[in-house]
Amino acid sequence: MQRLVFALFLFVLSFYAQSAEDPWLHLEKASQAARKLSYKGIFLYQNHQDVRSIEITHLNNGSEEFARIVTLDGKPREALSRGNNMVVFNPNKENVMIQKRQNQSLFPAILPSDIESVKAIYTLRFSDQERIGGRDAQIVYLEPKDEYRYLYKLWLDKEYGLILKMSILDHQQKVIEQASFNQIALFTNQDLNWFKPSVDTHKKYIMDEVSDNKISDEKYCTIANLPAGYREVSHVTRMMGNPPQLVHQWVFSDGLSFVSLFVNPISKGQKSRIGETQVGASYVHARVMNGNQIMVVGEVPQGTIQKISNSIQDVRAH
């Protein structure tokens, strides 16, 4: 316990000493605080018309991270994560669907661990101070250097750096996504009694492995001229549709937002899809190239989706 308190003290002190020199250290501190501190709180998450309360418990015992995230409104849903592995429990009447996910960057851990990528594409601006969830917070703006990403307004805990509130705003200052702690507390207790799902253990469990993603390094098409800062995070192939067919999926990220690009040959008799649409905070763009269906999905400005769709220079003809 004493060691943990001392580590917490050093964590605060080290950033306090440096933050006077480089304003980006505040952001680095925010990034690390979400992963290194142990905290429990309830925040309100808003996306489009959808608002819900979420309870988060996060523990870092010095070597590993544990988190339990529970949706308090609407359908009971919860997730347990240990390190990079996350298991999502979706109980329904008869059974519990279990889904595996990896490498989550959920609020308040929305910043990448290495903020260098963010520095290249955003300008950092300090603003006023406000109280959030009973804590004093410093408001900072991450202003995009180009039109390919949204503006981030962050409320950083003045003492620990943890992100207490975030607003993602579009070019017209309209809120795309928002999350804000109503209450938050740090803790030093390391027991893991809370790390279990409150689901009916008598129900059947079903592993919801939607499809078998296979990591791919096949050069199926040439991708060039991505929007600045976007890098390939993963490339997988999976079977989708009916009749099932092989679909290539690339995920690109600028460190804060994520976009998926799908390419698959259109089989005989199958309809092709074109056009653009918005689903919640996501934009979807579809077009056809050389007999291939190109589909782009992401929570980014419409222009980014279009540019990523147009980044395919060459694709195998079908």
């Binding site: 998450y45 996306n47 489009h48 819900r52 609407g74 347990l80 240990r82 592995n85 298991v87 279990i98 595996k100 996910r101 490498n103 989550q104 960057s105 959920l106 996504e177 999350a179 893991l192 009694n193 790390f195 279990k196 799902p197 253990t201 059947k204 469990y205 079903i206 592993m207 492995e209 939607v210 078998d212 993603n213 993963s234 997988v236 079977m239 989708m240 549709g241 009916n242 099932p244 995920v251 994520f258 998926s260 799908f262 309809k271 092709s272 899809r273 074109i274 056009g275 649409t277 689903v279 919640g280 905070a281 996501s282 979807v284 579809a286 056809v288 589909m295 999905v297 992401g298 929570e299």
Partner: protein
């Protein structure tokens, strides 16, 4: 291989096939990853996280070290078959989920496509939910996690 695992879990494989299946589970990275998931689920359900001996690496080490003891009692489960130190290593709900994987996978691939007479469709009229879902599975964002798929 999936079929083999489910059959193994059902205790319906013969000696030779069981032995092969167990060896393949040990060798296959994807299957081992699955163990890791089940371990997380099991640990969290049983609240056994403090027991360091149950880490997946420890399980794999145990598999490597100990001789494979194939038993053919109908009541025995996979935990007995691969002779793990933890007797309740895999319980039926988790074992059943292996089989569920096959079932869910089959259901998804069998899902009928809404075919229309026209060969080209505007996505605004027919939202490509399967692509949005696939995106959300791999994009580790808050939207993907906290919001139910609105277009469903």
């Amino acid at each position: 291989m999936k079929e083999k695992i489910s059959t193994l879990l059902d205790d319906e494989l013969d000696i030779k096939s069981s032995s092969q299946a167990v060896s393949e589970i040990i060798k296959d990275k994807r299957l081992r990853e699955r163990f890791e998931t089940y371990q997380l689920i099991r640990d969290s359900m049983n609240n056994e996280l403090s027991d360091a001996t149950l880490s997946s690496q420890a399980i794999l080490d145990a598999i490597d070290k100990e001789p494979i003891q194939i038993q053919f009692n109908k009541d025995k489960k996979l935990s007995d078959v691969i002779a793990l130190s933890s007797p309740d290593w895999m319980t039926w709900p988790i074992a059943a989920s292996f089989i569920a994987v096959l079932f869910v996978g089959a259901m998804i691939t069998m899902n009928p496509l809404h075919m229309k007479s026209s060969s080209t469709v505007e996505i605004a009229q027919d939202v490509p939910n399967e692509y949005i879902e696939a995106h959300q599975m791999l994009a580790p964002t808050s939207v993907a996690f906290y919001v139910d798929k609105e277009a469903k």
